[in-house]
Symmetry: none
Subunit: 526 residues, 2 copies
């Protein structure tokens, strides 16, 4: 019995999603999260074909330290009529330094003829040559048999020959791909079982969600004998997306009793799925199985009283097992509990005071309804607790007014200039700062105004800035949410601002970020 592989292709096939563009920096950050989740293989991209992917593998070699996962480089078999060792694309796979190479090969006779414009014999030779060459160079090789299921239904022997050729040449796994995504589970079951029996190869399964069955198809593949599952975090991918690896892994562990992640890692999957959606900037799907914000949320009514008697009667799985929470949408019970926990995390003991908890809970609900999010903005939430617990937040400065001007003349870059007027240290401070955008300019002027009074600010730095336009609802104007990350070299914290005006939202988040930094450094208002 071969080992079970969880193979993530978020960075390659997931990146094919419409509207999703990942920088090399994004890819490295996602790879770290995937490794943290404990997937066995992380497909990084297609070196040699996509310059950004070549760069990813170059930087990964020096910057990525993986504990669980092995990097895989994706690429195609040698071109027709060449030798594998002479093919620059095959060379690029070796140059990537990835310990695993996943080759893609045609396995549908129609694609061999019409897309590749070659014979089935040459197609098999391409598979055999390339696998053998890479094996001889010391790499582990997986083979993605593209359009396998369509191919098998059209010309069974042509499809099977590719599996056998790859396996005999030394491919460790042959991955049967439902590239167009048109299969249903019974077809997957039958074909995987048949291929396993007639080829004896170790098989993988790669599905897309075009019939809404990507997860079920993947599980059907596993039940029929596949020991390698491919998918993407949050189901990212071209068209309707790939099999959602998060759902697949949770189903395998919780419903099919297979251990496929390192111990304890399933409970991190909600956090990691959300962290990755922050990087991709694709808003998380609230109805996503297991990890969605609504996945364990119950509307009051028929269920509410029974849930109090026995929550397991109304839950298919324990939300804690995937690091998620049950939420009651009308009762604020769950809300208070998590606010209490969060407060403790930030150094506030709220447990004793029910009125206080209710007040904080109501304010969070009200602010979140207006577009705030405190999940990713501990600094702003901590300031809110200061206000509710101590009556007010520490006031380091009092703003009189601010103004930003952004100007451009053709032929030169736009410049931004901000002027801030405020009171701090019992004096009026007026300062002007410049930046390559309105937020940088505001940041520069705010620091300049405060520095004479709070020289500790020299240690703090604005390190990241995220903007999301929140959909307008029912005819109101859209609002802008800005998250700002501030760092003191040792740690970082995030603050949030919301408003119709993007510059004003940024200003709120900037002020929160600096205020929290001063508190954290033990500075008192002067």
């Amino acid at each position: 019995m071969s080992e079970f592989h969880v193979y993530d292709t978020t960075l390659r096939d997931g990146a094919q999603q419409e509207g999703l563009t990942l920088s090399v920096q994004d890819k490295l950050a996602i790879a770290r999260h995937l490794d943290d989740l404990g997937v066995g293989f992380i497909e990084g991209g297609w070196p040699g074909a996509i310059p950004k992917d070549t760069e990813f593998f170059r930087r990964a070699a020096s910057e990525l330290t993986l504990r669980h996962g092995l990097l895989a480089a994706f690429g195609s078999t040698r071109r027709t009529g060449t030798r594998a060792c002479d093919d620059p694309q095959v060379r690029a796979l070796l140059d990537s330094q990835a310990p695993v190479i996943t080759l893609v090969a045609k396995s549908d006779a129609r694609h061999v003829r019409k897309a590749l414009r070659t014979t089935p014999e040459e197609n098999l030779a391409m598979v055999t040559d390339t696998v053998q060459f890479l094996r001889a160079e010391g790499r582990r090789v997986f083979l993605d048999a593209e359009h396998f299921f369509d191919g098998f239904r059209f010309d069974r022997s042509c499809a099977l020959e590719v599996v056998v050729a790859a396996s005999q040449a030394g491919a460790e796994v042959v991955v049967l791909c439902d590239t167009n995504g048109g299969m249903l589970p019974p077809q997957i079951s039958e074909i995987v079982r048949s291929v396993r029996e007639s080829s004896g190869a170790t098989l993988g399964i790669h599905c897309h969600d075009d019939t809404g069955c990507a997860v079920a198809n993947t599980l059907a593949g596993v039940s029929a004998g596949a020991t390698h599952v491919q998918g993407t975090v949050n189901g990212y991918g071209e068209r309707t997306g790939n099999a959602n690896l998060v759902t697949v892994v949770a189903d395998l562990e919780l419903k099919m009793g297979k251990t496929v992640l390192p111990p304890g890692k399933l409970a991190e999957v909600t956090r990691i799925a959300h962290a990755i959606s922050e990087i991709t900037n694709v808003p998380p799907h609230s109805r996503q199985p297991y990890v969605g914000a609504s996945a364990f949320a119950h509307k009051a009514g028929l269920h509410a009283s029974a849930i109090k008697v026995d929550p397991d009667l109304y839950q298919h799985a324990d939300p804690q097992s995937v690091g998620n929470d049950m939420r009651m949408l009308v009762s604020d019970m769950a809300g208070k509990a998590s606010i209490e926990l969060k407060g403790r995390e930030l150094g506030f003991d709220l447990a004793g005071d029910r009125d206080l908890l209710t007040r904080v809970c109501d304010r969070v609900k009200d602010l979140e309804a207006r577009g705030f999010t405190f999940e990713a903005a501990d600094a702003s939430f901590s300031l809110l607790l200061h206000e509710e617990v101590n009556g007010a937040r520490p006031s380091f400065f009092e703003v009189e007014s601010w103004r930003v001007i952004t100007e451009s003349r053709p032929g030169s870059d736009a410049v931004s200039e901000a002027t801030v007027k405020l009171r701090a240290g019992n004096e009026r401070q007026v300062a002007t700062g410049e930046g390559n955008g309105p937020v940088n300019a505001l940041d520069a002027s705010l620091r300049k105004a405060l520095m004479p009074v709070y020289p500790e600010l020299a240690k703090l730095e604005l390190v990241d800035f995220k903007v999301r336009i929140l959909e307008s609802s029912h005819g109101t104007d859209a609002v802008t949410r800005v998250l700002i990350e501030t760092s003191d070299a040792a740690t970082t914290w995030e603050s949030v601002g919301v408003g119709a005006n993007i510059v004003e939202a940024s200003w709120q988040a900037l002020c929160d970020g600096l205020t929290f930094g001063l508190i954290r450094h033990g500075v008192l208002p002067r």
Copy 2:
């Protein structure tokens, strides 16, 4: 062989979705769309329990003319220790005038005991009495057996007795519900088959997506003999949602060869799914199978060359069959083939000129490496093609300079004011506009400056604005990417701008959006 039922529960179970609230007006509008799609049954709500639903049935009686669908009212069996004819909730079902009543009953022994606090015998009596009473009143009755699969696995005979009791009392269909959504397809298959064999009842299937398998579970139910499928449009519903009826219907017709909608209706499903999401105000999911905007969109260069040869090689179904379209996305993964196809879509014939194609392809790759994205910005891509094909884009105006000021004083909202200086119509134009953010202000001033020369701009409107901060790479500063959507009421188009300064990036996208709009309306530079 009984007739096949498509039973929609968007208005009842779908409305349990977090954040989804439907007015009576909304419900009537959705019911018309569902009838237009040709579903057999439209569950309108729970009259007697939810005042809005009582009102829905009252108004439906006079305002709804249905051609295909029958209205169903949902409600529970009589209370313990009463007679069905005396139970006000059962009376309310009759009063709704709905020709079909769908009763919900417990079928899990644990729920009977813990939630209903009664005996299995009384539970059966409640089912029998209520079904018989409603049948005697001339209504068709369906019975939803709640928590059926969990119940069957816990206490098979208790669950089966409910099916038999309902069926013998005159329920036309007994619907087996995976209420908590924890099942996988093999379990559904096995249980539906077993219940069918041992009860002989006509069965329905009702699934939720908690394991990501709602669609596959529903299809498994049908393969095992269920002839009634329940689901919601776009998969709305509590937690992870119900089985997506759109996907189920398309799979049944296109993949399983069953005719379940009236002739020609499947081709309307994309339009209707989007129309309903307009009413629910839940943004349509672009990756939704069959009907999503991305469902037939192709990005990979690998695929594009083959799509030119034979589109069916890369599509699991004909997009026209569900009223959707194939789209090509332009990105740095795209090769020449996809750029050629995209050009054709935008009215440029690039096929003859290999040098031109190479030039465009290189420019796209270069611009995308700098942070641009063209797959969601057809307008900017079309202007790029103008430049490469005709040497330059039409020049409607020449910008001299622009400036935006955003100002705030505590206690009042920030305001933005922009001034633009440009040449158009052989004259210098200077205009100032205001807005609730820098981009709105720039938009206002740009229009004001151009309107005297291009009154056609009055038709165009900025409808959406998206911002993404792209991570810095190689130690350079982060850049900002702005996507702007402009509309002329009939259609919309997107343009892109990129720069270190968010305001400058927005300005580029604004100018592209208006320029493309003028070209599209056949305006010539004046």
